[in-house]
Symmetry: D2
Subunit: 402 residues, 4 copies
């Protein structure tokens, strides 16, 4: 029913070996301008300022998530049987497109625009773009079905469990991929083993066989370590904070439009951003914009954009009332506007969130006697982790002493 | 002072890249017949019955431990300065020789002879063997000093902390090595990072810089997973149990000596085993002995030695009063001698044992403010693990239903 | 004499494990805006259109070349002794800066501007930039000495042999790095082994010990395969051709300046490009420029820039008089301007170029009897390769049939 | 038709990830005592005396060859279609059993017994052993069909091309495996790529698609380097020579049988070795025998067996009339029997042997135009290699100066 390519296309990928494409619709999506745009959006925001090789894009991550889902729905017997052809194609498309709505430096950008990238993902899939047309030409209703997976509204919850849950293809790919490109070992876990132990309960719930619990524990720990070592690295957060301050300053001072690149205008006027404008917002264009801003009349914009361009980051310290007061006093004396030059940031990470009312959110284990247990009841390690003391990190960021 | 080789010898090693030998005494030890004998003793007892590639010997592990210690005492500034030349050579020799007293299938063997391999290690170092002569020719007293490290009696506790503590070169090498040869990823951790963060407190206590805590957590988890996935694998324990039963049966029925290979006699008569006899007890000779025993008049010996040779292992089940009773009844009906055909085995593993009165046994962290904390006070993960529920596994082993 | 950092800085790198920085001058160079700009220039031009993960920048490659040179001048005894402190610092700086003059899509750009990136490298080092000031503040004359290594004019030829010869740190890093990021194994070779066998003859000539010949053969083969599998991949060349055609078209039609971004003007007017303008020419800004050009009045520019942005590449075929004629006829009929829409490209690669009069250009081997042989006289493999039939590939590129 | 296991068995393997067993007959063969015996025969004879981690057995290699063949006949469409079910099972069994006839230190042993291990392989498969019974119980005639593949007598030559040709599963596995366990990179090549480009011509000839030529070149080079760096390493050959001399000496002096272990008797009397006796000849038993021989009355046997046990190897030098004369004179003066204490050994390796009359022996490439070329006509590299100067190494081995 779904058209296949004359010959399977294989794309070399260091994380998975190869990405395999057999369906015409997937190949067309990959070759669309919206998907190619993901080459211009990096996977890691500030972290590549710490790990200099982590320059990989959301393009390769999206292919990786697709590949994991493709393997699950074709190679894991239980899931292969639980889904029909239409569902398989839809979930592969959703895997490929799940990050299509990301913009440049998403975290900082979203905090200024107030619009999450998931909203853009669904708009790009459904608002009559090239993507919409490819999906609809393939099968009527495919665009909506694909977006429904992103929105967690599929009739069969199995579909979104594969893409977005605590044990999903998205996390599995980004942990392995970010570990590979940062050069850390922390994110490594046994993907093969996890895939082999996936099963389906009642046709709707993804579960792991008991013999896979060790591999899942390993994955949970990998995630924990990647968060603290990579994603929450204070230097990365320093960079993110400056981006954030820069976007805020742009918004705060730009009443008119003359003094800014057209590129940045959608951020300033409060209207809904058109997809055409959004398309052009990639890291290349924004980086060019920052370069331009280094000559802007406003000294705060000039300084912050130079800092972004040349990696002149803020210092950081553990947040404490006394310490913060001292720093703020110094900054005031040196003439800094604290609104942009003093930031506080608390990060916390739960290695795993146990069952809280929504079955689709937890990880479930099928024990050898057939019973189903929630992960923290099947693993001492996970139980200990979620009942142990919370781990958070509260830091302040500010310009170094001159 | 210590004689160096004309040219550094490098031995290719897949785990460390190369093993570097610069000192004559180390080179002579490696070339001794006692050290070469370690090629005939496998690193993993029963586990290579599960992971078929884990056929590596204590020879390569011993070189690996030496290499880690060599790097620590020459490359880590703090430790390089804390030790004098004599201490460095001694701890490198101890690293190389720490397992020299291992016999074939050590666990099973020790439980029959009642003598631990550490006793043999010290005897081989000190009882006027080729090893003793090499050490004493190099420097008078070196044999005793080396054995003192093994016995935890060095004047400077730093020396045995490097070889045998909860964060030592022995564990670091075997986790990485066993992971490599089993083909699991569980044992991998960031050795480089841990080495770089090692420091010395007060000239006597090994500590880790605070920035190394994540790497240590990772190492603790690696150890945890290797125990449950590899060392405590029920199939490995089944094999160990049969070895154990076979050794016991040999001891129980052999009053005289005629019916056994000379090889096994030291196990039977209760005299102290001579080092000459011990030398000949390697896995090759014992394996040959097992082959011979497949033709022994005693049917239990015949059966158990065939099981060892051909990997006809016992089945296993979780231990429970009711279940065990049923199994034992069946076995009795089938004519099995339960003394050798029904075994119980409980394993438990503490990922980390916190401070219990002996400073040298815990892992210590130097925080960024200079204070020293015991690991479980510096790591939420480790704190959670040791305060969470204990993890043990209680199994019974027995012949399968015919 | 040369100022050291309080603590060695280590940057995580997946290819080398860590990049080590001990000298203040190296740290300052890394933190300069010119060096940070290399994050915005990719290492591989068209090849990342084939190998989607090859998104790495010249920033990480430059750090890698520096690290290899640092290791050679500090760890390889023979070279460590042959160079004085000043020479060591200079060659490390040259390693770090050897690619500092690269612009975006260098090959295509250079063919339009007619200026090679080496010229810019020397200008950036010597023309009173931030780089010049860092070098001169460290040691008077260091800027010129560094540029002299790039220009192959150092008093001691050993210095530029390390950076730019047939067995140099540049090639060694890029083969390993490109292999890592493309995910191919072809570029892998035994770096450790080659480094260990490097020696110095007469204080001026880099040679390899005879025992290293196999590793060098392996490296030569790795290079050969990387060229044909990655660098000369027809799809990569198709992308390069389109870039080239686009740059040419910009130059050809832009008499005035109104219709172009200021960014591209230096390419059009024939004046010497200022370093300030060159600084702003990075892949981000040029990519933004291409996006703008998709709305340019000229249809050729519009089409070509769209093709670059969305990866709508030209088809390719083996070049042949008859085949080319047919294609050109079709293109003419379809209204294409053949100047931009039909390209021919011949690539050829010598795995190794033997001695041709300049000692510094060949690879030399010190045999076990102390004699020195040129590589092709010490290796049957290399001899066979350079005396075998030449390998070239002659292709034409053109828009696919509509 | 062929019975499947209730659940696929997966064995962890560091080279292939997992070995998959789906068929009962394969599982039974693996669990037979003959196959388990391969755990007691090392893959590499002398080479593990150089590369200390290369302690892996023919057991893991045999599983690896099976796994490659299993993947080829189930995953490569062209081959999957060319073979019927019976042929697929037969070739998988042959892959698993192709080395079943190997004895301890095969090369040295064969040169003394004059019987090749292939003869034993076929005897073990066909002479009513446990192996024969497993095969025949599965399907009548399967034993002979399996042995026919080993003997290159199958009706369909495709079957033995997969197991034993210049591009076969045997070589592919041992190169990768030996590279992994020695820790060298030389043996690595892109197995995935080669497998994906395998095709069948006329239902009977294995060919490689033109796009796979680079991967095949890489494999040819890997083989070349493994031979010279590992298999032909002079130290490995020194060890092999001593084994060989020891076996010869045993044969030469043992007229009677009293002075030898029963184990070695089959080597001495010239009768055909029974499979029962051959079964007991493994490296463990022979190693035990060597230990015994260190106390033998004959001084040559005593010395040579000590050398084997303790790795006291012979020195080596390039063979030359003058040099050899000098060495032989010295040895005579020192009282050595040159028959056992002076050996000459010439090794030569053809990276590839082109078509010489037997189609099944060459590697064939299907070009993009559908024509079939012999590899050396499709690859410049291979053409150059086979037309370049021959590479051989002629060495003598002898005891070092006392």
């Amino acid at each position: 029913m779904f058209r296949k390519l004359d010959e399977i296309k294989v794309l070399r990928d260091p994380v998975h070996g190869y990405i395999h494409v057999e369906l015409q619709v997937i190949w067309d999506l990959i070759n669309s301008s919206w998907f190619q745009r993901l080459r211009r959006i990096r996977q890691l925001g500030g972290a590549y300022m710490v790990y200099h090789c982590a320059e990989h894009s959301r393009f390769s991550h999206s292919l990786g998530v697709y590949e994991i889902v493709r393997r699950i729905v074709t190679e894991i017997g239980d899931i292969e049987k639980a889904l029909n052809e239409q569902e398989k194609v839809t979930v592969m498309a959703a895997a490929l497109l799940h990050d299509i709505g990301h913009g440049p430096y998403s975290h900082a950008l979203e905090s200024v625009t107030g619009v999450s990238h998931e909203v853009f993902t669904c708009r790009i899939i459904e608002e009559n773009t090239e993507i919409t047309r490819i999906l609809e030409n393939c099968s009527e209703g495919l665009a909506k079905d694909t977006a429904d997976i992103i929105r967690h509204r599929s009739a069969n919850p199995l579909l979104y469990q594969l893409i977005s849950s605590q044990l999903d293809a998205d996390r599995m790919d980004y942990l392995l991929r970010d570990a590979y490109f940062t050069g850390t070992k922390y994110g490594e876990f046994d993907l093969e083993r996890i895939l082999r132990t996936l099963r389906v309960e009642d046709g709707r719930l993804l579960v792991v066989k008991g013999s896979g619990v060790y591999a899942v524990e390993n994955y949970i720990m990998a995630r924990y370590h990647m968060y603290w070592q990579v994603y929450y690295h204070p230097t990365a957060r320093s960079y993110e904070y400056i981006l954030h301050a820069l976007f805020r300053r742009i918004r705060d001072i730009s009443s008119g439009e003359d003094d800014l690149l057209p590129l940045f205008r959608p951020l300033v006027n409060k209207k809904k951003i058109s997809l055409d404008d959004y398309f052009k917002l990639d890291e290349n264009s924004v980086s060019f914009g920052f370069e331009k801003l280094t000559e802007h009349p406003d000294p705060v914009i000039r300084d912050l954009s130079l800092r972004v361009r040349d990696r002149k980051l803020f210092a950081y310290a553990d947040s404490s009332p006394g310490g913060n007061r001292k720093i703020r006093n110094r900054l005031r004396n040196e003439g800094y506007d604290l609104k942009y030059y003093f930031g506080r940031d608390t990060v916390a990470q739960n290695p795993y969130i146990p069952y809280n009312g929504d079955h689709n959110e937890a990880i479930w284990v099928r024990m050898s006697d057939g019973s189903i247990r929630e992960l923290s009841n099947a693993s001492n390690i996970v139980y200990s982790l979620i009942h142990g003391p919370a781990h958070d990190d509260n830091k302040v960021f500010f310009p170094e002493d001159k």
